[in-house]
Subunit: 114 residues, 2 copies
DNA sequence: ATTTTATATTAGCATATGCTTATATAATAA
DNA sequence: TTATTATATAAGCATATGCTAATATAAAAT
């Protein structure tokens, strides 16, 4: 029995969201790690406001989840999203960004609340 | 040895192109069939001008190829595109549209130059 | 050569997008 | 309470997008 496929409309709107450097990078980052806003600001070299607005779009679409931990709000990939599998398929075709997160860690800029 | 992955920028620009109902539908249609402009106009119920402009974007990006056959210009998916595999992965997540083409055939509106 | 047919191109317009700057909010620290 | 920190929101603006209407092009048919 085949899984239900989202309508073209829904898929197109997800692709539209991912069709932006910043948002595609964000989704690539949160696929395997939780990140907070200030980390995105550092990694993407963008203003806090701009990052925040991109995150809002991703959150409104349900592609990412947010969770407060003390000072910070952490974002993570929402594997429950109807297009989550497609997004993961897409991410297999772009270079992973773990190296950047490791660099952030070495620079002492990684936030860890565990 | 792993295949070279397009940069995030390049992937984002492909996704941006596909992040539109009309263009995603077109790419879905040409994945398995050659189609000419008037067929898209019929299938998508859009103006010829609008379809033509979408096709131009897809062609400029190299995602589709065009080939003249008599009266008509046929468009087909370009499997040589650096992101062709990703596009095929994406299309696996949307309902196929073969039924619509078959209906067109039954209506006697399918163009065939073979 | 003229007309017809299929497609492409252009201009114009309304709406969407992504950024910056400034300000608001909400949790923590002092 | 007040100040600080992390994040969100709003306003404004320049640019991008997708459509329509009108016109151009190019091959085919007459």
């Amino acid at each position: 029995m085949e899984k239900i496929k989202p309508e073209i409309r829904d898929t197109a709107s997800v692709l539209k969201l991912l069709g932006d450097n910043t948002r595609l990078s964000i989704v690539g980052l949160v696929q395997n790690h939780e990140c907070c806003v200030c980390e995105f600001v550092e990694l993407l070299q963008m203003s806090q406001s701009s990052v925040s607005q991109h995150l809002r779009k991703l959150r409104d679409a349900g592609l990412v989840k947010e969770q407060r931990k003390g000072h910070w709000i952490f974002y993570s990939f929402n594997r429950q999203h109807p297009s989550a599998e497609m997004v993961e398929d897409i991410l297999r075709h772009v270079p992973d960004q773990n190296e950047k997160l490791q660099q952030l860690e070495r620079d002492g800029l990684r936030i860890n609340c565990d």
